[in-house]
């Protein structure tokens, strides 16, 4: 399984792409594979302020449901509207078309607490 080294990771299996003070958030290849067929994704509204580690949405798979935890504190700037009709994009392309939200990075020091791809890989290997 692949975990791009350009991304940061949470122990809850989200990834964060940092571009200046904007972050893009999705779930990892490990998470989508564990969940199986994703059929519905519920995401907080654009404009909502979320703290680091707070729930910003839920992913419903056929068999199970899992919460989404924000990697950083910030405001939801955008959500991937395509997921409302094609939630399986998260299964098919979790680091690309299956991105979930864009969030402002209000406190860049929080990024230090996130995992690198090798640290994350270590976690899911066990």
């Amino acid at each position: 399984m692949s975990y791009p080294s350009s991304l940061k990771y949470t122990k809850n299996h989200e990834w964060l792409l940092i571009e200046g003070n904007i972050g893009t958030v999705g779930i990892t290849n490990f998470a989508q594979s564990e969940l199986g067929d994703i059929v519905f994704i519920e995401i907080e509204s654009v404009g909502k302020n979320i703290k680091q580690d707070e729930i910003f949405g839920t992913v419903e798979a056929v068999k199970t449901v899992s919460d989404l935890f924000s990697p950083v504190t910030g405001k939801v700037l955008e959500k991937n509207e395509e997921l409302s009709t094609n939630p399986d994009l998260v299964n098919k392309d979790c680091y690309g078309k299956g991105w979930i939200i864009k969030i402002s990075i209000d406190n860049p020091t929080e990024i230090d607490a996130l995992l690198s791809s090798s640290q994350y890989e270590e976690i899911v290997a066990h």
Binding site: G36, F40, K63
Partner: protein, 362 residues
């Protein structure tokens, strides 16, 4: 954890294995939706060898079965099977099962894996008439071959005319060169198909033969995940979720297997419940608002009064919408009635619909 004889093969096929009531079982091989659709459109094979099988023998075998089950097994003739349940001492359900009449005075009971021991003890407790009981669960492999192409695939492996085996009938014979295979036209998917029982020493041979002949029909191994979504689309009850020790067969909509023409454990309690009227009832519902119902979510009426609980729910791969089952108060159980499911503190609208959720297109 206990393993089924074909456990290694499932792992080789890339199955995700889970602990299912103490059994190491395949939940999915590729994707639940893909496997589900494979059974609805082609043919799939489930290894359900974890299920329990008991043989009951002797002149009083029928008497014991009649005492312990709610359906009327006296109508069974050799080669016929019947869905039934064991009511407990308060009218709840010890387990649901299928009773197969193998020959005069010889029956096979097929029970849920996780209840095998409980059921065995329950039968022993009521076996005051000296019925010979043999637990053959350990040495039996059970494969369910289900889907519109199931018959064509299996027909190539046997001389028996399978189209003559009607629903809930069975026949014993040779399949893939193996003798003594019990081929039953039963299943848990709503599709035509067969459940085949045989000695576990032949597991690999029969599994491979089925997959070899099934190749051109796109046959696939199917995990417990799709087994659950397939049965739920049909509104079939799953023990431990939709029925248990605290629900009666009448509440669960299993009145059709509760025959008051005979006496059985708690028949008086159930008869009493029937004449007084039910308080709660198992219903099916589809979501109107977006969200997926899950077991134990609460159900409310339009005045925000709690009226029951969800017992099973999923996104239906055939209907492409979320469906669920649950108990609600009888006043709220009418079809088309609007109910609300509490999903993560939000009340989402749903409506009660008739079983089955899924009807085969003709």
């Amino acid at each position: 954890m206990k393993e089924v004889p074909l456990s290694k093969i499932h792992q080789q096929k890339g199955a995700r294995m889970i602990d299912f009531g103490g059994w190491y079982m395949p939940v999915s091989y590729t994707s639940i939706i893909e496997e589900h659709n494979c059974v609805r459109n082609h043919v799939g094979v489930f290894d359900v060898s974890h299920m329990g099988e008991f043989i009951l023998k002797g002149p009083h075998a029928l008497e014991l079965i009649q005492r312990c089950t709610s359906n009327d097994a006296s109508v069974l003739t050799p080669g016929k099977a019947q869905y039934s349940c064991f009511p407990n001492e308060k009218g709840g359900i010890v387990d649901d099962l299928i009773v197969y009449c193998l020959e005069k005075d010889v029956y096979m009971l097929v029970v849920n894996a996780s209840n095998t021991e409980k059921d065995w003890n329950w039968l022993c407790k009521h076996n005051t008439m000296g019925v010979e009981m043999i637990d053959i669960s350990e040495k039996t492999t059970l494969l369910a071959v289900q889907g519109p192409d199931a018959l064509t695939v299996l027909q190539q492996l046997t001389e028996i005319n399978l189209s003559s085996v009607s629903y809930y009938s069975f026949i014993k014979g040779t399949l893939a060169g193996i003798d003594n295979v019990l081929i039953a036209a039963t299943g848990y998917t709503g599709e035509p198909g067969f459940e085949i029982f045989f000695d576990k020493i032949h597991s690999e041979k029969i599994w491979n033969a089925i997959f070899e002949t099934g190749k051109k029909f796109d046959i696939k191994p199917i995990g417990l995940g799709a087994r659950d979504s397939l049965r739920l689309e049909m509104g079939y009850c799953l023990y431990g979720k939709d029925i248990d020790d605290d629900t009666t067969p009448l509440e669960a909509g299993l009145g059709w297997i509760t025959k008051f023409t005979k006496e059985f454990n708690s028949s008086n309690i159930l008869l009493n419940q029937k004449s007084l009227g039910l308080k709660k009832k198992l219903v099916g519902f589809e979501m109107i608002d977006k969200g997926i119902p899950r077991s134990h979510y609460q159900i409310f009426d339009n005045n925000k009064r709690m009226i029951g609980n969800v017992t099973s729910g999923t996104h239906s791969p055939s209907l492409l919408k979320p469906i669920g089952m649950g108990y609600v108060t009888v006043e709220n159980s009418k079809q088309e009635n609007e109910i609300f499911i509490s999903v993560r503190d939000k009340l989402l609208k749903a409506k009660i619909v008739k079983f089955p959720f899924y009807k085969k297109k003709v």
